[in-house]
């Protein structure tokens, strides 16, 4: 796969290594703006082709290579540039466009511009905190395509357990695993204790409904 990665900072570093792991034979092109950084990146990523471009030149590069590029990943240190480059890639029908955000507050702005794959590196913070602090409900992961979700739910008492059993009965598209308060893992909700944390995996639509019925009950 021919991937264009724009940027040479932290995000780009992790992106480049991930791409190498996913598609070891693929063609990775990294664009940077300064000659000093190009030199450093060439040494850091010997498997990639590192190209120097001016800020305005990147768009011309995308336009003239759009028919052979499989993916564009915008990972510069400015969300303004990321937005510009994603828009150009979109206008030139590059099949896969990914933005790695610097500021999660820009997620909505990117979505409005039709950038479907937006990575928010800080998204893990609320998820981890919710798990550590044991919040009542927590969405742990959602696939980028939006169809599958992993979530957790705190169970406190027989009543709640009965309620969730009722909701899961006949739901073959959701699987559950309960970690009891003593740390024991139960793979069937029928044999679960009344207290613990329930992990659910299944269709996003279904899980959202289940979580919705439990939300707002406690912290």
């Amino acid at each position: 796969m021919r991937v264009l990665l724009i940027g040479g900072g932290h995000s780009a570093y992790f992106a480049a290594n991930s791409i190498r792991g996913i598609d070891p034979n693929g063609k990775l092109i990294i664009i940077e703006f300064t000659s000093e950084k190009v030199e450093v990146l060439s040494k850091t990523f010997p498997f990639a082709e590192v190209v120097q471009q001016e800020i305005d030149g990147v768009e011309s590069y995308i336009r003239s290579n759009a028919s052979i590029l499989d993916a564009v990943i915008a990972a510069t240190e400015s969300d303004s540039l990321n937005l510009r480059y994603c828009k150009t890639a979109r206008e030139n029908a590059v099949p896969l466009i990914i933005a790695i955000l610097n500021n999660p507050m820009n997620e909505g702005i990117f979505a409005k511009e039709g950038v479907r794959h937006v990575i928010n590196p800080y998204g893990i913070i609320p998820v981890e905190l919710s798990e550590i602090l044991g919040s009542a409900t927590n969405i742990i992961y959602k696939t980028p395509s939006g169809s599958v979700m992993v979530a957790s739910l705190r169970i406190e008492g027989e009543g709640e357990l009965r309620k969730i059993r009722g909701k899961l009965r006949g739901s073959e598209d959701v699987s559950a695993l309960l970690v009891s308060s003593s740390g024991e893992i139960k793979s069937s909700i029928e044999e679960a204790d009344a207290r613990g944390r329930l992990y659910l995996m299944g269709s996003e639509e279904k899980l959202r409904k289940i979580l919705g019925s439990f939300r707002g009950r406690r912290r």
């Binding site: 796969m1 021919r2 063609k27 028919s67 052979i68 590029l69 499989d70 099949p95 896969l96």
Partner: protein, 244 residues
């Protein structure tokens, strides 16, 4: 005939009804557009426009009635207007229904790979009236949205890669030598693919050797460039090839 003062009164009332229907149409349009905006701006605008024209049409009918025109004349006018509206707006109504269908069911998104009828390709944009699709050959096909109501849609977007099968025709030569060349050329273009290319079959046919290969590609527009690179790869090995 009516007395002159009665005629003036009727004309005034008819004019008032017409003006009222005009403003009522405008008001209903703006309210409806706001309510329907969740289904997409284009759909909301067009539907509310239709409703506005309908109110205006009712206003005109009422005006004609107040003016007490001959019942036959009124019927003829109304039927003619209705037929004219139906004929001229058939496509608009169909596209509108299709737009509502696409907005609510969302059978595909931009960049999805779909097959609809005989057309297969990547969705470039979804508009109010039509949808743009880029095919394997890199051609941009504009499909009126009503097309989606008449043909089943197959969304093939679960995998990034599309498996494209190519037929390679060579002049007759030793199969083992050719197989090695094909493997080498496929290896050369591998960095451009999403996974391993595959030599599916190789057989002698008349004075030719025919091979079928499968390429997993993400960007369909790349196919022409890839076939050119493959042809060049064979040529540098002294082998002529025709790729379909």
């Amino acid at each position: 005939m009516f007395p002159p003062e009665d005629v003036i009164l009727r004309i005034l009332i008819a004019a008032a009804v017409l003006i009222l229907s005009y403003f009522l149409g405008g008001y209903v349009k703006s309210r409806l557009e706001r309510v329907l905006s969740k289904f997409g701006a284009g759909f909301a605008r067009k539907t509310s426009d239709l409703v506005r024209y309908f109110i205006l049409f009712v206003g005109i009918a009422a005006m004609v009635s107040i003016l007490s025109l001959d019942i036959m004349a009124i019927s003829v006018i109304i039927v003619a207007i209705l037929i004219l509206l139906l004929v001229s707006m058939r496509d608009i109504v169909l596209n509108l229904a299709a737009e509502l269908y696409l907005a609510t069911r969302k059978p595909f998104k931009e960049n999805d790979w779909i097959k609809v009828g005989e057309i297969e390709g990547s969705v470039k944009s979804i508009g109010g009236m039509d949808t743009e699709i880029i095919t394997y050959d890199g051609d941009l096909v504009v499909i009126p949205n009503s097309y989606f109501l008449r043909h089943p849609i197959i969304n093939k977007s679960q995998s990034l890669a599309r498996y494209v099968e190519l037929k390679l025709s060579f002049p007759k030569m030793k199969l083992d030598k050719l197989e090695q060349a094909v493997t080498e050329v496929l290896e050369e273009i591998k960095p451009e693919l999403f996974g391993d290319p595959e030599l599916l079959s190789m057989s002698e046919k008349d004075q030719m050797v025919e091979a079928h290969v499968s390429l997993p590609i993400v960007n369909v527009r790349k196919l022409r460039w890839l076939t050119a690179r493959m042809a060049k790869g064979f040529l540098t090995r002294g082998i002529e090839v025709e790729i379909e």
